[in-house]
Structures are given as C-alpha cells and as structure tokens.
Amino acid sequence: MTSIDLGLAGISLGAIAALSGIGLLVTYRTNGVLNLAQGGIATLVAYVFREMVVEWGLPIWLAAVLALGVLSPGIGLLLERLVFRPLARRRASAAESLVASLGVLVLILGITAGLWGLGSRSDAPSIFPADSVRLFGQTRIGVDALAELAMVVVFAIVIGLISARTSFGRQIRAVVDDRQLAELSGVPADRVAAAGWAAGTTLAGLTGVLLAPRFQLNPYGLTLLVLETFAVVVAARLSSMPVAVLTALGISILQSELRQFTLDGDAGQILTVLQSNLFIVALLILLLAVPKLRELGGGDSGATSSFSSRGAPPSGRVGEARYRRDYLGKLGGFALLLAPLTFAPSDLRSAFQVPALALIFLSMVIVTGYSGQISLGVAGFAGLGALLSLKLANGELFGLPALPGIWAMLVGALLVAPVGLITGYPAIRRRGLTLALTTFAVGAVVSRFVFEQPTFASGLYIDPLTVFGHALSDKAFYILELLSLGLGLLVVRNLHHGRLGRALLAVRDHSSGAAAVGVDVRNLKLLAFTVSSVVAGLGGALLVHSSYSFAADDFAPLQSLLWFTAVVVFGADSAIGAIVAAAFIVTIDVLAPAGTSTLAIGILALALGWMPGGLASAVRGVLRLLAQYLADSFVDPNQRAPRPVPVRISAVGHLPATAGIVGNTGLPGIGATLGAARSGHVTRWPLSEGALGPLAGAPAPTPFGAALVAAVARYAAAQADQVTRVSGSTNGSGSDGALVGSAAATGSAPAAGTAARPSTASGTGMGAGSGAGTGVRR
C-alpha cells in the first residue's frame, strides 16, 4: 500500500474520532461536564443497534433511526434530568460532575456486561455498504470514510454556526457561564442543558455504531477506544472544534502511515504498538504539553473535599471512651477479616482477593481522600507492582538474582515508587480534570506498552511463596496478605494523623491556602503519589499471587475507573471503607454473574448526590442516629443530660433581638391588604389578640432584665410620641396609638442575656379598611 492509500485508510477512523470529540465538546461546552461516560454510551448504543439488526432482524435504516434518533438522545435527556440537573442546581464542583459521569460509565458498563456478557462479538453491522469510490488512478476510498467525513463537516459547521451566530448559541454560553443567572434572565437553562446532553449522547451513539464494525464489539474494548479519543479534546483545550477535528484526522492518518515502516529489535516492537495506540500516546503527550485546558467555571474542578466526610482526627489524646470504641471496632473488623480462615479451601481462595484489592483501594484513599487529587491510573501502579515482583522472583529483572517470592513482592512494590514519583510531578501543578486525564493516560500507556506486550508479560510463572524453604499453605498466604494489609493501614494511619495528616488535608481542602501557611504542597503531593503507588504495587503483587496468573485485563485502564468509583462510593477518605469496598466487590463477583458488581457500584455512585462523603459517612450518620435513639429510649426523659443546642450568634450591630414590631406603613392600601392577610391566616400569623396571649414556657426575665425592659419602654414611649406627631403631619392619616404599643415590644430575652428567641406575648388588633395596620409582637 502506498502512503496515499494508508492515509485514506486513516481518514475513516479519524472521522469517527472527530465525531466523538465533537460530542464531548458539545456536552462540555453546554454543561461543563467532561462526559467520561461517552465510551459507555457508545458501547451500549452499538450493542442495541447490533441486537436490533442481528437478533430482531430489523432493517438497518430502521435500527439506525431507533438507535441514533431515539435511544441515544433519550439517554442524554435521562442523564440530564436525573443525574446532572440536580448537580447543576446545587452548583456542584466539576470534580463531582466528573465522578457522576464516572458513575454513569460504570453503571452503563455494568448494564452492558450484564445483558450481553463480557465476550467479544465480531458481527456488528455497518450502516454503510462495504463499497469504495475511485478517486484517481488505482486509488480508492471507502464509502464509509466519505460519509463519515461528510458527517464531521456537517456537524462541525452546524454546531459552529449555532454557537456563534444564533441566539440559542448565546443562551448556551450564558447557561454554561452561570446557570442560575441565566434562569433569572429568563433563559430556559434546563432546556438548553438538555439539548446539549441529547446532542452529545447522540454523537456518542453514532461513534459507537460506526466503530463497532471496525473492531470487535466488547464492552470494555469499545469503551476504552472511545475514551482514547479524549486526546482530541485535550488538543482542542476543551474549546476549539476545528482543532479537535484536525487533531483527530491527523493522529489517525499518522497512525495509519506508521504501518508502512518496520524496524528491528526493541524499537520495532515499540513501533508495532504505536501503530495501533497512537491516540493514547497522543493523549499523554498532549496532557503534558498543552499549557492549560480552558476549563469552565474558573477551573475549580480540584475540589475533591466533597467526597470526603471528615476532617483530620483531633490531635492530642483521644478520650478514653472514644479510644475504647475505636479499639472495639477495629477488633471486630479484624475478626471479620480472619473469618475466611475458617472457610472451605475454595472459598478461602476467593477471599484471597479481598486484602489485595483493599490495599489497592487504600492507595487511592491516600491520593484522593487525604491529599485530594483525582487519580485514575491506579491499575497501572498495581500492575507494575505485580509485574516487577514476578520478574524479581523469576530473576529476569536487569540480571538481578532471583529473590524469594515474599521479598520479591516487597521489593517489587518499592520499585513502583519511582513511577509514582514521576507521575506525581505533573500533579504538582495540575488538579481536577487535567490530573484525572493525565493519570488515566499514564495507566493506559503502561497497560498498552507493558502489560499487553509479550516481551514483558509472557512466560512468567508464579512460584508458590516460601518461608524458610517451606511452601506457604493457603491459610498462611491469607495471613501474609492480612499482614501486608496491616502494613498498608499503618502507613495510612501515619499519613492521616498528626502534623502530616493535617498538612495533607489542608492541601486537599485548599491547596493555595495551605501553601500560604507554609505547607510544602509540592513535596506533600509527591509524597502522597509515591506512597500511594507503592501501596498499590503491593496490592497488585498480592492480587497476582491470589489469582495465580498475570492477566493484562486485571490491570486494564478501565479497572482504574471502576476502582476509583468504588473508593469514592465507599468514602474516599475512609480506610475501613476501602476494605469494605474490596469485600463488597469480591463477594458480588464470586456470587453473581459478571458485571453485577460493576452495576452495583454504578448505582451507588449515582446515589452519591444524596450522600456526600460516600457510604462511609452515610453509615456513620445512621449509626449516630441509632445510638442516639437507643440512648434516648433507655434513659428517662427527665434525667437526660441537656443536648448541646446550636447557639445562634446574636446579632452584632444596632438591632436587638426583638421580633415583630409593626409600625404605620403610611400606605393605607397596604395596611388593608396586610390586615386582610392577617385576619385570614391567624394561625400562621398570630397577630390578633385572641390568638396570642402569653405562651406557656416563655422565659421569665431576670429582675435586672425586667428593670431594663421597663426603662426601655419608658424611653420608647417618649420617642414614639414624637414620631406620631411627625408621621401624623406627613401622612395626614391618623396613626395614633400605632406606636404606643411598640414601647412594650422589647423582648426580654436579649436583656436577660439568653440565646432563646423571644416569644410572642401580646398584640393589638388589626384595623382593616383604610386604617393603618398596627400590631405589636415581641
């Protein structure tokens, strides 16, 4: 094939990537959400399209209309209404939206895997005939490529025109800038946002339907393929559509052109990988090279503290009772973790994965929960830890002698540290979206260039671990895992307590603020990344030993997304949450069909809107209520210790805490209106004489307070007398007596110095008609 032919062959894929990029940009520029679920939606639509054509036998055009005209926009509208509108309403941070879209991704992956299984299908129908058109000479171009290119051009122009030339485009910019202000200006923000979502998901669906016949239809594979097109929107810095389209075509054509070269040796191997993975490499390079993404909303996407439920633990000595309770809780948890030792051998082996996974999750607690950085590449670290420890044990690493298995595991995990450190460097200046994508790209590159390469990842054999020459039994291995987990928990504990813990949390909650008070933000972030990568590496090493094999799929880039979501769901800053999450996933995976745990995590992730801080804080809240209830039911109500009441700070300024002085409005009509309103709503507005009267339990003034009130009353009466004369002359309507009442209106509460709100005691009746509305409350 000539260069031209190769280039033309690249056009089709490039056009699809461009469509995906346009879809991402449309969603982002209309809603401020970088839709990580794009890949999942594409996959789901592709599966449904295939189902309609292959299984139901619908004609292709009808299936295409249903999939792209009904299903895809429908998904977008549903997501907008149920997931993202509530987030936008409470002005959630971009990080929260990012996690919500991750939740959607995980949920859709779960649905797809649950419905159609994890296997690959190669019979996905194409909407275009497998025909080609002669351009010149022998050079031909496929009909699909032409059609896709035409679609890109049409979409780009139409969307460009809408956003630049129409008032709808202006409304979109207004809604993205400030949704609330847009509504206050009469712009139907919900409709604008919904339109953006529908357009975005339609393009996602189109991407899926077009991609599926070129590759195998497989839930994870296709999703990842779409995620790789994020390179395109990063190049566009999240804003420029032409740049996105050109980048997509450029990368794809370059990738295609690479096929005409072959090299020998290691370079040749790298080239081979590049020939099919240029997008992911481009994503990483672009993320490191592009100065700054044009994030919407001032780029506050780093605020991850909303996933976290707690601040730093108190410094100094903890109370005895609290200490004892913590101790008990930990003992209980430990006992539960020991339980698998009593299981049947096969069940025990299933349980092997729990501590390993828990360690991986702990590593994310360190990075996300404690230092507030979104890291989506943990599977890369875990896989590296696994791979390095196996290589060490096999004596294949840089000619080092073979180490005994356990030592190999520890050393292998430590060897991940430099990788963590290097990944941490971009994290120093990046937050939120950029960091999330960067770590994802690192994980993906490691997966493609290391885990999936035979040079690194084949021919590894896993020796049973030995201690002093004795092979470890299953039980002994499980105990070893628990010891490792204990080690991880110790690390986490040291990171969370004391000076270091407070400094990390300060970085998480407000990194510039932390820097301002002298916290070394830079090194702390690096430390968090490095330690986290080592913990993840140890977890990965254990995971491999527990499943007796190294499979690249176990450490695929999408795993990172799933794991991250799980950690956030179970409480990003909760070490216990990490262990529970691991147990939850492993248990469901063992008991239920594939994809169920993914589905469950996805559902829980979407429920995050209702339980900020994750399950951990929800459980803590429920436990607190339960304890309160139990305590209340066992203690005689009269003997209860006074519960701390949130004290409202009394107003500073020249207004005392008096409530309900009503003077002369000077507007006869208003007086009448209010009077009517009052007589109509006596219960709600108890101002008439009958409804009032001294309430039981009203605080009695102290002698000093009573004296003060009397003094004030005398003074106010004198003042009111003056004003009555003044207002009487200006308004010309009689309002005598209106203010006499206000003399007695001073509440006793402020004088008595308590925080209680003054209660109503007396009032005069309302004058309806043209008379001035008067009344006294205190």
């Binding site: 202000l181 009469g186 409530a659 004003v723």
Partner: protein, 234 residues
C-alpha cells in the same frame, strides 16, 4: 390618599438550605409602583427572601401571590419572563460573555430585542460593548447588571445589596438611576444593610432579623425604631 394595592405578597414563608431553616415564616407585601426597602444585618435572611421571591429557593410553607395570582410553584424562568426581575448581589453578570451578549441575552429572553435603552441609560457601557463583562470594574459590572434588568422591562425589580463594594459616588449614581426607574411606576424592592440612600428612597421599610420580620413601617418611623433599639441593646 389613594389606596395602594400589593403587587407581590409573600405570606407565612418558610425556607432555607438543607437542614437549616433561614426564614421562619415571613410576611411581606410590596406596594405596586412603590419602593420597598428590606433591611437587616448579614444573615438576617434578606437574600434568601429575594431568592424565594425569584423562585430560586422553594418555599417549605407559605404562599406567594403576584397581583392576586398564586405563583408559589412558578419556575424562575417564567417569573423572569413575566417581569419579576432579581439582580443578585454577586455573580449578577455573565463574566465570560461580552457586554453586548450580556445585554442581548436578557433583551431577547424578555421579547424586546433592542438593547439601545440600556445604552442610553448607561452611556459608559457603549464603549465597552465587546469587552468581557468579567474584566470590568465592580461598579461597571453593577451598572451592567442594572442595565440588563432595565432591558427586561420588569414590573417588579428586586436589587440585592446595590451599594455592596461600590464607591460612594457610583453608589449614589446607581441609586439615582433606580429612583427614576421607580418613578416610572416599577415596583422596586431594595435589600440592603442600613444605608441612607435606601431609606431615603423607600416608601415602606421592612426589617428582618434572624429570619423573622422585626419591623414594618414608614422610613420616618424606622429612625425611632433604631433609636429605641440602640437604647435597648446598650
């Protein structure tokens, strides 16, 4: 004296954020074509009241009527389109949009797509039409916010903290402009801390304290009230 009808009436309004109730049953009536001042310290519930009136926060109990029609459940967008305009205290302009777009959006949404009245009222904006609103000074942004409200031709104009962060001169200018708007028959609600200008303009004064109404009366009476209050708190 002719009788005045209430344009907007809030009764028994309870509202808040999350588990915290901010308004503990507020009654409020805005006389049509008059200026009402809503005063109170920080945290008294002024902004919350305005947000309730604009429909940004749902009422937990109580009702809101507009010229006799119950609009408790009406959406923010519909209220804005029908002339109930709130100028919030912060983020009152689209910072990333040009001044022209800022004006055009509201002009189109309210069905009067001509932006020239705003430029006549605030000639300074004419020089800045293509500038990003976020890059203007605080006073100019406030001006733009008011100019936007003007374009919507509101029947009720609610302004939150007009003088916040402005130099006295600019604040005086804006209050002067607001007075002309009020004189043309627009019902105005001014939420503010205790500023002289607001009191000078107002026909009716409400004082909120800790989410409850603590005073209702004419501005002249308010002077007495504060005098009383000052003594009481001493």
């Amino acid at each position: 004296m002719t009788s005045v009808t209430a344009e907007l009436e809030l009764s028994g309004a309870r509202a808040g954020y999350g588990t915290i109730e901010v308004l503990h049953g507020i009654d409020l009536a805005l006389p049509a074509g008059k200026v009402t001042a809503l005063l109170g310290t920080n945290g008294a519930g002024k902004s919350t009241t305005l947000r309730v009136l604009a429909g940004l926060i749902p009422l937990r109990s109580g009702a809101l009527t507009w010229r006799g029609e119950d609009i408790t459940r009406m959406s923010t967008v519909d209220r804005a389109r029908r002339g109930l305009m709130l100028v919030p205290d912060e983020r009152a302009v689209f910072a990333t949009l040009s001044v022209r777009d800022n004006l055009q959006i509201i002009a189109e949404a309210s069905g009067h797509p001509d932006i020239s009245p705003a430029l006549e009222s605030f000639p300074r904006l004419k020089e800045r039409l293509s500038q990003r609103a976020g890059s203007m000074s605080g006073g100019e942004r406030r001006m733009l916010a008011l100019a936007r409200a003007l374009l919507a031709r509101p029947s009720v104009l609610m302004v939150d903290e007009l003088s916040l962060g402005l130099s006295p001169k600019i604040a005086a200018d804006l209050f002067g402009w607001l007075a002309t708007v009020a004189a043309s028959g627009t019902t105005v609600l001014l939420a503010d801390q205790y500023t002289e200008q607001a009191l000078a303009m107002a026909d009716l004064v409400y004082v909120l304290h800790r989410g409850e109404r603590s005073f209702l009366g004419a501005p002249a009476e308010f002077a007495t009230y504060t005098a009383t209050a000052t003594t009481a708190s001493v």
